[in-house]
Symmetry: C2
Subunit: 464 residues, 2 copies
């Protein structure tokens, strides 16, 4: 049963499992204690720190273990913002950071700080010069991911780190997705990672703060982990995480080349075998194991379940697969289609046969969901004849992907040059209707708020 | 090799080990995902929450898992203080709380809040009426441990919880030490616990917030754990923690009776076989497995190592076993001797034979340390004759236990009714010199600051 959601969590690496079992016996005691069990735990913790620091490319005394990558990011951001409060209170981050960065930024803004989000291109990539231009003299901290977790696009971290160094602004790199593949280049100041993304157990993040970076931990701390991560250390998991990082790094060169081939195959074939699909993310500068695409006229949750029934586990950034009814902020920032979104992230060891089977299964799964929704081209004949001038479609109360399906059907009923107006109160329509136009070669005229009602009227002109 | 430091951390319970191994295979995926691996992880998480809630005596939707007991306490305190900011900004806690409570209180005070610490008796027990008297109308939160982690004294939590309920103040109970033995009685509002204290793995705490308690999580959060504990859930460890709690509870009644007998034996025999020892903590209202005593004229670190060489792992609240040179705040609040402090905490299954061997080894270990320090009664003959009136001992620059050793020697050289003044800049002298007088039946006259120097002059009158 192929599991294609490694970017969420990967099964435990065999090396991690072995290390965890051994250190459950040897490393359960309190490393702050002087007795032999405590000293043994301390030795294991020190050795794990050395190994992790070597893999990251930092000094051991610059690295602390946290309970998760999220904790590492939260502590890293609040610690630098507090340490550099005199420099200013501005936080600059990319618009496509992981939500844990955005949550920390929200807390900073609520506390009176200022926050600037730097946009990206349609491939999800941030421009290094655009990012550098946002570094004002009162910027306390900049944050940029090494690679995007939803679409796989690599960011120009080394270039941005140079620009930050030149501007005297520390750069925090969320390296959660890229750390299994290699160290992060450039003169960054703070780095965060998460063990369960590299085959380590859950419960371990790492936070690196380079010597010379002003850092003042926020909230209550204790004497553990250099005063930067309170609470009893999870040594068995830390030992397993360090062992796993070393193991995946040893396999990284060969495995990344192999997975890159499989991902290229998916990118090419999905576009060929699924009609009305948009493969998203930068085509070249990308993580080796991750590919994302969005399917028109499909709701993400139904597609996920259809693929699940066919034996494939993937994830989605569609609004209709989350509890919030808002689409992924990453897809939104990119301006790409969010409906029917699928993220495939291959764990190490994924075989070509599993990928081929996925490519066989996918078109049918999409077809099945489209048919259930009465999507255009799914066997439901477009009504003959119809309007000749402008057409108004009322999709109020309908949720993604219905407004786009109604739009597509209406466009078939008007002549080239005529407009279709969709009235919708679905938040996602603002993203998906322009994205539909972009993928279909139609013209997006614009939107206006509805009078006396929640929602907007979206106007599209038929071009083809 | 007997390990007698269960109050710091206990080895993994066999049931926890089995549950951990099983759920490493079944529960590694992201429980927020819709695919089968995610759904399986979610089921395990839900079942663990049900089991933990049953053991605690709360509803499952009142309980979230945190990365540690420390995180649970920090989040519990900051969440209630923020949620009840309108009621006031006063935090009341006992003076003998775990340091994680004190750290959270320090952060609150630094943020402009007010903090009141309620004292305890010489046995470490807080008076319920004294605690209730501290509950002013502007008190936002009260915090009281169920039992003390250093001396084992049980606190009157049920009584205090009633008083808090009557005053409309939520009570947070740090139940880390007592949770393996049973649920916490009384109408408390918030409760924190730590799995590695009950044979669960490290990396799991629990935070219970009763329905109706105003609670506003502080800092960045996400959608995990009801918005009260951010970061990827550590499901294998959570499952193991819940299984272990259930297992130790099943054994609790029998095991607590058995360990209580062993602890009573240690309390009685230590006082009999070690000269100049003070057994501390409430003699009756105490945890079943924990006993603490302090030995005059001994430094804690040397005694720990001597016991370690003899095969016994214990811990100590002495200043000379920590990096801070300050004694345990618990012993300080109790006003008892801090030098030569030893905490024995027996893990479940400890045999009577191991305890008897400890009692055989202990007197020799204490004697050995005293001899090395030239302590009184350790073979070094007291100088004959000597001063007849007042005597001044200069112990400036000397660290615990030397000032007390010098005091004891000097007192032997003056007649009954005469005074000895000890000049010392060791912070612990302020605690240990009065405590020495108390244990030796001598009179503590008082102290005065030294002129032009750091430290104080401590005056003692010979009575016996």
């Amino acid at each position: 049963m192929p599991y294609f959601d490694a970017a969420s969590a990967a099964p435990l690496h065999p090396v991690a499992r072995e290390a965890l079992l051994a250190s459950l016996d040897e490393g359960w005691a309190d490393p702050a204690r002087l007795h032999r069990e405590g000293r043994r735990a301390r030795l294991l913790l020190d050795a794990a720190r050395e190994a992790a620091a070597e893999a990251v490319g930092c000094r051991a005394d610059e690295l602390v273990f946290t309970p998760s990558g999220t904790h590492a990011v939260h502590s890293g951001i609040s610690g630098v913002l507090a340490g550099r409060r005199r420099a200013g209170r501005r936080l600059v981050h990319s618009a496509v950071e992981h939500s844990c960065v955005l949550h920390a930024a929200e807390v900073h803004a609520a506390d009176g700080g200022s926050v600037a989000a730097v946009g990206c291109d349609r491939g999800g990539r941030v421009a290094a010069d655009g990012f550098a231009a946002a570094l004002t003299p009162d910027t306390a901290l900049a944050a940029l991911q090494s690679a995007n977790h939803e679409v796989g696009t690599e960011q120009p971290v080394a270039e941005v780190a140079e620009a930050c160094a030149a501007a005297g602004v520390p750069l925090l790199v969320d390296a959660a997705q890229s750390l299994p593949w290699g160290p992060v280049a450039g003169p960054w100041s703070v780095l965060a990672g998460s063990a369960h993304k590299w085959g380590g157990p859950p419960g371990v993040g790492l936070l690196v703060v380079r010597k010379g970076t002003r850092f003042a931990p926020r909230g209550p701390v204790d004497e553990r982990e250099a005063g930067r991560s309170p609470g009893f250390e999870n040594i068995p998991a830390i030992v397993a995480a360090a062992a796993s990082l070393r193991a995946v790094r040893a396999e990284a060169a060969a495995e990344s080349g192999r997975l890159r081939g499989l991902v290229a195959r998916i990118r090419e074939r999905v576009a060929a075998v699924v009609p009305d699909v948009e493969v998203v993310g930068d085509p070249e500068r990308r993580l080796p194991h991750l590919v994302t695409f969005s399917c028109l006229y499909v709701d993400g949750e139904s597609l996920l379940y259809a693929l699940d029934r066919a034996g494939f586990s993937v994830s989605s950034g569609s609004s209709c697969t989350s509890s919030t009814l808002t689409p992924s902020h990453v897809l939104k920032a990119m301006g790409v289609l969010s409906e029917g979104n699928v993220r495939v992230s291959l764990p190490p060891g994924t075989g070509a046969d599993a990928v081929e089977r996925f490519l066989e299964v996918l078109p049918g799964a999409v077809r099945e969901v489209r048919a259930a929704l009465g999507a255009p081209g799914a066997g439901a004949a477009a009504p003959a004849g119809g309007a000749t001038g402008a057409l108004v479609v009322d999709a109020l109360g309908e949720r993604c992907p219905v407004p786009v399906i109604e739009l597509a059907k209406a466009v078939e009923r008007v002549p080239v040059g005529a407009t279709v107006t969709v009235r919708s109160d679905d938040e996602v329509a603002a993203l998906d209707i322009p994205a539909w136009c972009w993928t279909q070669g139609q013209e997006y005229v614009g939107e206006r708020p509805l009078e006396g009602e929640r929602g907007a009227a979206y106007v599209v002109r038929r071009r083809v």
